[in-house]
Symmetry: D2
Subunit: 338 residues, 4 copies
């Protein structure tokens, strides 16, 4: 058997990292060799995530670039934004391939990053980072040293709207996106408002003034549409572990029939292994635990309405990261993801 | 002590009826004397809803107008649409006051009812029915013989938008409403798609082509705004028992500051016992089990965004019905509802 | 109208306190006049619990005995164990009646308290404290200055087993209790293991070596049975907000028929307003949001099996506290609790 | 590549069948070629389970033994008890290997089956059926033509108690088992008591007089212990999709230390790929979506307490069935299950 790719994970205590481990345990071509976190978060993995007892016998340790370079060929960096960019340059310098889960290398224009994140980005590496949405950048991913793994909301929204903006079928300046996310999207940070009894049996809107995933959606959709796309993004928190449903409202630029729209989507995504086009709105339940995105485009009430569903931890984070790794490392794109 | 109002409930096996019983058990001025349902649904209440064992010792029976007229002064009719209008005329003829939960007496224009419900309404009684949203029709309710209790979605949406359309502050023809409801909104009918394992851990959009509550919202908002209001209404199903959150997006007709908007809402609802105006978006968790609606109006991303939260079974059904009953019967409006 | 009882709440930021406020807002004879908490927890109540916006316009403040004595007639002390006994003596000295939610005054034998809680109790006040389970101590409660409000698990278990141990119908040294509690039982403390994504969709056993509520159950049941009762208590955490179901297994001391058992329970609890005896096992859903306990005694598989259900925040905490307050203050025992 | 095993599924519309498809989609050595159900349940799989849209493009059809024999090498029979035994003989006669999910071939003594299921079993095939718990019957499974896949509760309970009864460390006639299951255990039948709003936020005991899985546990444990094992089994329904936690209480036959017990379990299960022994009680959350069983044996409160956790649809049904198939067909036992 070919030598396995040795994989490290930084930020190993978060939910996306745990999902990543779950997927990698099924991957025949990789071996997880290092788990890193801040010193106060470290310990045997089985104490941090008891589900890995007897399955992945590793300690989470305060790794640095040097120790990772010895143990790994590729590192998944599942750190928060503005933390990631402190580690990524060292990892790249040590010759590691990096797939980064944070927002630090997603926004191509440094000024936009600085506006939304209030710090300057790592411009040197931003320049060569590839936005890891295989459906749009499949050609560029294999050769990349640094992949910016897309945000969870952007993955569902960009894939939901891409055919429409690409074909100029909706007004690009008047799109409304109402999304609902499971609570794992908030991460594993210990905050009162994410206690079970605060979230359970409740549904809430948040960040009405603007969410950091919005410029990411706009940048990518503008590129696809070769036009300045502006959207109004309103996220909600739903009482469930996983899943994002995005309902998108747009004004058509010409008369559109539902059948035509459906045909367009089927054609646009014909060769995509993880995009499923449907003629009825999906539930997040139909994609949870998978790397699939389900997209339903409709003409309704005089508008174009698109509903997309993903699992925020899989296609919205760890699954997509493995999809990227598969492309980077020359595995079949769907390995460990079916 | 004054003689108690004797109350009957038709459609006593549904969730709204159960919520109604819960509220009425706390009401010092009423007594539940009759529970009616279709023959196949009948039996001791404690077998149908074990929570009432030892609390409300009644049988659910196949009542008719005559037997109800003997046992009751007022009847809550919690039947489905197009069933209600078969019972209501007889109840009125028998001299009973009726508070109807269905859509049968809500839409003032018979043609609109027929378009959405595919049957002809009971025009004779529609003509004198009062739309039971006390915040808008408090003066007309006390004298009414027939109250059309508002729909659950309309209650949250109308109260959320009323100040804006009344003052002409938003474009009336371009309003987008994205709502999420707890599953009790679907009723207690035994259908596969409402099984626990189908709903739990899932979030889904439904009825994209149009929902029957939309003309109700439009009719009432048009009246309040003295202009033709059209909105795009998209409901979702959330994995929780109760609660509706409505997020409403509208285009302002002039420059608006957030403070001004907040002040307007505080003033508009200053005397309302059940409307709470907030400056941060509510969660349904903040209103569940109560008759309150929480409304948060914001200026955000160049638009007006209003988020409202209600309990669909309380302010969206049984609580509002008791509020109406209190007005009809001369009780303090908040009796049993605080 | 008679002057209202002025009520204060210490530990006002916890879930039991919030439930208490909800109940007291419905109580015609009381007025909440003071809310106390540690300085770092203080602020407007509506920021801590947005559900009280516009309903209870108070600030949570770092109250002491002196300020409470001025503002209140009676104080509910909803503080953790070993904190409560620092405040209660001062409150009593200031002439206030106290209903204490903690374990500090529940265990009559100081040594048992010290064994389980690792600190010495307040023996002086322990001596006159009355265990506030009205079903057992209704006569002593009205005259008490200090009520030890029972624990949540003990309430359901004691009421479930009382008739059996009282009549000597089960072996007192061989009782197994397997209970499951909703997550609000863990309080509002911000701990990782109570985050939504840790609790949701999971069911777990905890504290197998022994839980602090066990000696409380044993002390009360021993008293009722006039024999040394020992039980094995195993709690579990269930993915729901509220409710405790206790399933109790015991060996009968003689041949027992199911009917006889049911008759015994009906007779034992005949005059109890909040105990509902049933012939089928209840769900916590049948009592959630109420002050009722549902008890189902069965002869099954050669044993006596009793299943009891309560809402841990209501009959298991705040509801029972109000029941006690009603008795102490001369209100009807069920006021605000139906 | 070797020719793939062609697999059929009868009872394809149930939850266990859906889980089976999910697992088989990851299996490199099998291909699903036929899905069968009653005529009224048939249709395109994507309409019955939208999650398989674009992933498994098959119709569910009313297959018989003949059509299955043409299309398949092996059939998973996921039918209800007393239905399965009508199909299995024909499948075996047609030369198919069968893995049966029902209880029809689990109980070796026909009289016991008849007592609990009220019909006579298929004695001819019962005689050669192998109980498919690989941890106990690994040697017999590869040569079997008919595997009786164990029940969900029995899997967790038998694996939890096997080391104890095998070594004679607990009294065999006095074992109490209190289990809680997620709602998928009730299947996909459309019944009122499994509606979302009936199950959610509730925890309930059921079947106190005796559950059909009890004789299965007793038969297997008696064999392991070479003694007549009797247990008291009490199941509960928990508000979650999946997972079974069993808490087992037993009396030790001699002084036992916790360490000794833990060492025994580690040794007993040393070579098992799917049994994880832990020193702290698991949550179902730690095994959901996996084929693992987590077992924690403890000495507590003078008794032996064992807590085991499985996913009822995976190790409790479809995962274990694939584990059996792997053994039957000569695949690595863990294929598609890690």
């Amino acid at each position: 058997m070919a030598k396995k790719i040795r994989v490290g994970i930084l930020g190993a205590t978060g939910y996306a990292a745990a999902e990543l481990m779950r997927i990698l345990l099924r991957h025949p071509g990789t071996e997880v060799t290092a788990l890193g976190a801040l010193p106060e978060e470290c310990g045997p993995l089985k104490d941090i995530y008891p589900e890995f007892t007897g399955r992945l016998d590793l300690d989470v340790r305060p790794h640095d670039a040097e120790s990772l370079a010895k143990a790994c060929d590729l590192v998944f960096c599942a750190l928060p934004h503005a933390v990631s960019f402190k580690y990524v340059p060292g990892l790249l310098d040590a010759g590691l391939k990096v797939i980064d889960f944070s927002a630090d290398y997603r926004l191509k224009r440094p000024g936009v990053y600085q506006e939304w994140y209030k710090v300057k980005p790592d411009e040197a590496n931003l320049a060569h980072a590839v936005y890891g949405l295989p459906e749009l950048y499949r050609d560029q991913i294999p050769g990349a040293r640094l992949i910016a793994n897309p945000g969870c909301y952007p993955t569902g929204v960009i894939l939901g709207l891409a055919p429409l903006v690409n074909k100029g079928l909706i007004r690009p300046d008047q799109i409304i996106v109402s999304s609902a996310s499971g609570t794992s999207g908030a991460g594993r940070a210990v905050k009162r408002n994410f206690l079970f009894c605060e979230v359970n049996e409740g549904f809430a809107a948040y960040a009405p003034a603007g969410h950091r995933h919005q410029p990411e959606m706009e940048e990518q959709l503008s590129r696809i549409g070769r036009v300045d796309v502006r959207l109004h993004f309103q996220p909600h928190l739903a009482p469930m572990d996983r899943g994002i449903l995005s309902t998108m409202f747009a004004w058509p630029t010409r008369d559109l029939a539902g059948d035509e729209l459906l045909k367009l989507y089927h054609s646009f995504y014909a060769k995509e292994p993880f995009v499923v086009v449907r003629d009825a709105p999906p539930s997040t339940k139909h994609v949870v635990g998978t790397n699939y995105v389900q997209v339903c485009p409709l003409v309704a009430q005089g508008k174009v309405v698109v509903v997309s569903a993903i699992d925020n931890l899989t296609k919205g984070a760890a699954g997509q990261a493995v999809q990227n790794m598969n492309l980077v490392c020359g595995f079949d794109e769907t390995t460990a993801l079916l």
